[in-house]
Structure formats: structure tokens, C-alpha cells
């Protein structure tokens, strides 16, 4: 289990992915700055990407054969979609900032019933 002695396995990458995912979820939940929420989304997507790459890596697991391409390809799709998502979300944030002169998501409560 010790990565200094044993070869690095899938579970080590899974731990890193879990930490990134959790940090992203918390960042999305507690940040009041809209851009902080966006950064949380990026962290979540990266945690998922770490898992995809680890599951498909032929260096980390012996039975990765069929997945050796699927993992990296899906990770690439995630990266591209994250770029698209960041562009649209940033545009929405800037629009909100232009209209309300704030980026505090707690102030975006006009739709509240």
C-alpha cells in the first residue's frame, strides 16, 4: 500500500480523485462568490478525470486492456466539455455582474417565490 515501496496502484489515484471531488463539492456549496462556485465545478470534473485515467491506465492495472483507450478518451471529452461549461458559466456570471453589480450568489434571489 505504501507508494514509496510498492508500485503505485489504482487505489492511490482513487484516493486523490476522492479528495479532489470532495473539495470541489464543498467549494461549490459554501462559496458565495460565483467564480468560486465555478472553481468548485472545475475541481469536481478533475476528480472524475483522475478516476477515468486511473481506470484506463495500463501502467496501474493489469486488466486495463480493453479500457486502455476508453479512459483517456473520456477524460479528453470531460476536459473539452469543462472548457465549454466554463465559457458559458463565465458569460452568465458577467451578465449577472453587469445587471446587479455584484457576484454574490446569495443576492441572486429574484426568482424566489
Amino acid at each position: 500500500m505504501n507508494p514509496l515501496v510498492d508500485p503505485v496502484g489504482v487505489v492511490h489515484y482513487l484516493v486523490v480523485g476522492a479528495v479532489l471531488f470532495t473539495a470541489g463539492i464543498v467549494c461549490m456549496a459554501v462559496k458565495r462568490n460565483a467564480l468560486g462556485v465555478l472553481m468548485g465545478i472545475e475541481l469536481v470534473l478533475n476528480g472524475a478525470n483522475v478516476n477515468f485515467v486511473a481506470f484506463g491506465s495500463p501502467v496501474l492495472r493489469a486488466d486495463a486492456g480493453p479500457l486502455a483507450i476508453d479512459g483517456p478518451v473520456i477524460a479528453l471529452f470531460v476536459i473539452v466539455l469543462a472548457a465549454a461549461e466554463a465559457a458559458v458559466a463565465l458569460a452568465i456570471t458577467l451578465n449577472f455582474y453587469n445587471n446587479h453589480s455584484t457576484v454574490d450568489v446569495d443576492r441572486a434571489d429574484e426568482l424566489k417565490g
Binding site: 496502484g9 479528495v19 496501474l60
Partner: protein, 235 residues
């Protein structure tokens, strides 16, 4: 005399340290470094209140994640992570930070109750995820980097099969499908459902185009008219 004796004194512990030096698992050591930077900076993003510092920590975290991708043998994904994520998406985010970083919004404090609640939720979520990660026996097996290096197989560059998979041809999968002599036409879906990624590739490219047009439309600068201009325009 003095330098040589110093050299001799220095060489003695170095010589004794050289034996474990050859035995150090460098892959594991670099994995530990990159993993520590990635996780630590991700936690720093959560804990920081200043939005500019959060952006910087995020850059470090995502860069270290690219290093992890390199260590996992997916050098193309690592390079794309550096170029698209760190070089593109985060620059976009930093632009957003700069455009909106007025004095009251640089650091918006989170309420303490929210922080405590988020800490509890994070601990439970992390416990569940770690338990799931450690629960599968096959994932706990040590990696096969030494065997892979001895065989010389899996450390070959992965970008060409990746590119072929994106245009719909799986060159990495030599397993014969049910239609061994059936030619390429039946090969893909019939061979165990493992076909290429041509359709998702096309969908994602059209999606990118639509998204960028939409983003440009949403973020376009609307010219504000002063009341006098408005009155003149209405007249």
C-alpha cells in the same frame, strides 16, 4: 588536502546512501509529490477566502493533476490538461476574476455555520468515497509498472491509438470479433461493442461551436444609454 578530505567524508555517507538510492521507487515518490500538491491545493481553494488566491491555488492543483496523468502513462491527456485546462479554462476564469474583482467582492466570507456544516458533509462524503475505493479487491493490487517496463509494452506513446479511436478506428484492440473475416464494415459494434468514438467526437465539436457562439452572445457588451440619449432616441 582539505577539499579531498571533505570529499572523502562526504563520499562516505553518499556511498552508503547510494544503495537505497537505487532502490527508491521514483514513480511512487513523484506520485506522492504530485498527489500532495493536487490535494493540498484543492483543500486550499476551499479554505481560502480571497478569490485571486483561490484562482492561483486552482492553477497549482490542476497542474499537479496533469503530472499525475503523466505518471499514469496517459501523456496525451496530461498535455491536454496543461494546454486546455491550465492554459485556457483557467485563464478564462482569471479574466473573470479580474473583471469582477471590485473591492467588496475580492473576499466574500462564508458564514461559520455553513463552514461547519460543509466540513461534516465533506467528511462523510470522503469516508463513503474512500470506503468505495478500498472495497474492490482488484483496485488494491499494486501497480504493474516494473512488469510493464520489463515488457516494454504499455509505455509506448498512446496518442496515435487515441487519435485513431477519435476518428472511429480501434487499432488498440486486436481481439477478433465474431466477424473475423467480415471486414471493417461489421467490425466495430459487432466486436464486443467496442467501436470508436467518431460520433461523440462530432457531437462534441458541434457542441463547442454552439457553446462558444452562445457565450459570445451572452457576454457581449451592451451599451448603456444615458437618459438623455434615450430621450433623443425616442424623439
Amino acid at each position: 588536502m582539505m577539499p579531498s578530505s571533505l570529499f572523502g567524508m562526504a563520499a562516505m555517507p553518499l556511498g552508503t546512501a547510494a544503495m537505497p538510492l537505487a532502490a527508491v521507487n521514483w514513480h511512487g515518490l513523484f506520485f506522492l509529490v504530485f498527489a500532495a500538491v493536487a490535494c493540498g491545493m484543492a483543500v486550499a481553494v476551499v479554505l481560502a477566502d480571497n478569490i485571486v488566491r483561490m484562482a492561483f491555488y486552482l492553477v497549482l492543483s490542476l497542474g499537479a493533476t496533469a503530472g499525475l496523468f503523466f505518471l499514469a502513462g496517459s501523456e496525451f491527456v496530461g498535455a491536454m490538461q496543461l494546454m486546455i485546462y491550465v492554459g485556457g479554462t483557467l485563464v478564462l476564469l482569471v479574466f473573470g476574476v479580474m473583471l469582477t474583482a471590485q473591492a467588496p467582492f475580492v473576499s466574500i466570507k462564508t458564514a461559520t455555520g455553513d463552514r461547519v456544516l460543509a466540513g461534516i458533509v465533506a467528511a462523510s462524503l470522503l469516508a463513503v468515497l474512500l470506503q468505495a475505493a478500498f472495497s474492490v479487491h482488484a483496485w488494491r493490487e499494486p501497480g504493474r509498472l516494473p512488469a510493464a517496463r520489463a515488457a516494454g509494452g504499455p509505455l509506448e506513446p498512446m496518442s496515435s491509438p487515441l487519435g485513431m479511436a477519435l476518428v472511429g478506428v480501434r487499432v488498440d484492440d486486436p481481439s477478433p470479433g465474431p466477424s473475423e473475416g467480415g471486414g471493417v464494415a461489421q467490425g466495430g459494434a459487432a466486436a464486443g461493442g467496442r467501436s470508436g468514438y467518431l460520433l461523440p467526437f462530432e457531437i462534441v465539436s458541434v457542441h463547442l461551436l454552439v457553446v462558444l457562439v452562445g457565450a459570445a452572445y451572452l457576454a457581449r457588451a451592451k451599451r448603456r444609454r444615458s437618459p438623455r440619449e434615450l430621450a433623443e432616441a425616442l424623439r
